[in-house]
């Protein structure tokens, strides 16, 4: 693959508090998605498929597992000469005070020395908590073509939802003229996806300047982008069309999983031209017992189904015992559902045991239940 002289930095330090117990001992990018993946597989696979060779992963919150996971670059094919995945938790450096990352921009600032060693022309900033497939090389072409200082990927969202996002107002050529964070009266429906391409020279200068700005949050959205605008630098919008989802809440995580069951959804994880790579776990094909049944579901290898499954996503090593029913649920790796138990409209965290006869969630419920510890009968 052609080297495109762009280095990627994935911001993977967030806790993702709204994912509740799923992120109690695990950073959000390490949360499971889609039967066999973790959220961070998406930006990493996108990088690998876009021909990016060097990826830095900035970790902070509960990062032990995430560091080990992301560090194994061969999973995404990022293991050829001159390429690699570099896990970058905060570190002590000569001559500076050791501190955690204060904001998204500070995380990059603290790794200027790392980026400089590769001397890239462009730096791609990504967040590690979205589900989407995107060719960053295409975005880079636009960035080069328009000679922008920064290109920001934007997603058209329904106008009535626009006030929930950071909104980019552009001119006819797609040049960004204004940025409004969660505007009450949005002027456009182009939401920032938190994906930026910068000329490294420009960004480097800005980051150093930002270090001494009083009251700065050291954040891309709050500080760096507004400052670029104020200086009259050229900011270009790159319009993305396709599936994109922030899986920051239990509901949205459940919905994104359910989108896999919808043939009309644009989220196809089985495109041979754009595979999503992940850890390989030894497992047999999934097994449906002689008394089991499966309908309208997404099932990974290693699952054993003796009961009934409908409209659900099952990860590897899930076992569903006979006469159990699982409907509209996401069962993460190693979940066991005991004989006769019922699981409805729920996300069940990895390794959780649902005892025989227990009932979890309800088909009439608006809310999605998060089950993160053992459920006994009658609870």
């Amino acid at each position: 693959m052609e080297q495109n002289n762009m280095l990627a930095m994935i911001l993977a330090g967030g806790r993702g508090t709204r994912l509740l117990d799923l992120t109690k001992k695990n950073a959000k990018p390490a949360v499971y998605f889609g039967g066999k993946y973790r959220i961070i597989d998406f930006p990493l696979s996108n990088c690998a498929n876009s021909g990016i060779k060097v990826v830095g992963v900035l970790t902070q919150y509960e990062s032990v597992m995430l560091n080990a996971y992301a560090g194994a670059g061969q999973r995404w094919g990022l293991d050829t000469r001159g390429s690699g995945v570099y896990v970058l938790p905060p570190r002590e450096k000569d001559g500076t005070k050791f501190d955690v990352y204060q904001g998204t921009a500070d995380a990059i600032t603290q790794n200027i020395d790392f980026i400089d060693t590769f001397d890239p022309e462009y730096v791609l900033i990504l967040s590690g908590d979205h589900i989407y497939k995107m060719d960053y090389a295409d975005m880079l072409s636009l960035h080069k073509e328009t000679e922008a200082a920064c290109t920001i990927a934007v997603l058209p969202v329904p106008m009535k939802e626009a006030s929930r996002f950071g909104i980019m107002n552009t001119d006819e050529e797609g040049r960004i003229v204004e940025f409004e964070e969660k505007p009450a009266h949005p002027k456009s429906n182009l939401a920032s996806m938190g994906i930026y391409i910068f000329n490294w020279k420009d960004l480097r200068k800005e980051l150093i300047a930002d270090m001494s700005v009083e009251g700065s949050h050291h954040d891309f959205g709050k500080d760096i982008i507004p400052s670029f605008l104020n200086q009259g630098k050229k900011l270009q919008a790159y319009k993305f069309e396709g599936y994109w989802k922030d899986v920051g809440t239990i509901d949205s995580l459940w919905e994104a999983n359910m989108d896999l069951l919808d043939k009309t959804s644009e989220l196809n994880l089985d495109d041979p031209e754009w595979k999503i790579y992940t850890e390989d776990v030894p497992a047999l094909p999934h097994y449906v017992g002689p008394e089991g049944s499966v309908k309208n579901s997404y099932i990974n290898q290693g699952a054993i189904i003796r009961g009934h499954v409908e409209s659900s996503v099952l990860f590897n090593d899930v076992t569903i015992d006979k006469d159990a029913t699982v409907e509209q649920a996401v069962l993460m790796p190693g979940v066991t559902v005991g004989e006769g138990a019922k699981v409805y409209r729920a996300i069940v965290a990895d390794g959780v045991k649902i005892d025989p006869g227990a009932v979890v969630g309800s088909l009439d419920s608006e809310e999605i239940a998060l089950i993160s510890k053992r459920v006994k009968k009658g609870e």
Binding site: D270, I276, P285, H286, V288, K295, N296, I299, Q301
Partner: protein, 371 residues
Amino acid sequence: MCDALGIVTYNDPSVYVRGLQKYRPIAAFSFIGRYRLIDFPLSNMANSGIHDIKVFVNGNPQPLIEHVGSGRHYNINSKHGRIDLIPLYREDGAIQYVSDVQSYYDQIDSIQENKNDYVVIAPVNMVYMVNYADYLDQHIQSGAEITMLYQNVDDAKTHYINCDVLQMNRQKGVLSIESNLGNYKNRQLSLQTYIMSKEIFVSLVEEARKVSSMYWFKDIVNDHCKDMDIRGVNFRGSVYCINDLKSYYDSNMAILNEANMREFSNPKWPAYTRTNDSAPAIYLDGGSAIGSLVSNSSEIHGEVVNSIIGRACKVGKGAHIENCLILPDVEIGDNAVLKNVIVDKHTKIYKKIDLTGTPEDPLYIGRRENI
């Protein structure tokens, strides 16, 4: 670590699987949806701590080269271990009848230079899960010169025809290795799995080569039953012997029994294979499965009953698949009905077709066909 060199070897011409073997060597046969037969001896060896393995291949090596690759996915230590694929090569191109002994002899220098003191030889057409390290310990303690694994079978009149069977004395000393002609119900089926010191192995290979170019390794072992201490050890786990199309079908279908399946899904003794990075399987449009194994990347729109579906297969709307073994990358059209059929890789079966075999004589559909 286990002080043994692993040798995975090919079968003599008495084993021939109609249809499938036209396209690939037995080692590359698909097994239970996502594996190839080579995965089982390699996983057993890797799990046993045998990290130095030579795989002898007759037939087209291409699918195996692609599948085994660097061997990394078998959990072989990439610095202290290696898997060597050794395809048979003869300048005159005639490889069908080159014995295993001839192949071993081609590698004799490298085998002698190998740091391990023992060899463990395993075939590709016998599928079982075993800890070779235990049997090597037992071999060393017993003082035997050669240990051979066998299993008592009670259906040898109709099964395992032409496979090796052992005659043994009461002390399990091997008296001879014979071919099963189907005359007796009860026999001791050889698992074609041998354990011995490297020194004995090398001397037997050299001797066999001098006797006749037609000699197979089992022939020279058989010759020495009278003057060497060769012992049979009964292997009690499940064994699936693939020696013809029917046994290939039966061996696969036997794994649909959950107890049998569980032997292959033991987290402490995993069966490794190459990943294709494919997405989970998906059931749509009321597609369903019952009593089946369904591999990733498959799309099920129809009904799958008591069948094995390989990786990346598509079963159309209203289609009904029963007692079938569907190899990877097969497409089955809407409303097709298949019963007791083996469909080889990359085949397309169009709409509304009715294909029926019997459990005794499953129908075989070739590779890359359009039906």
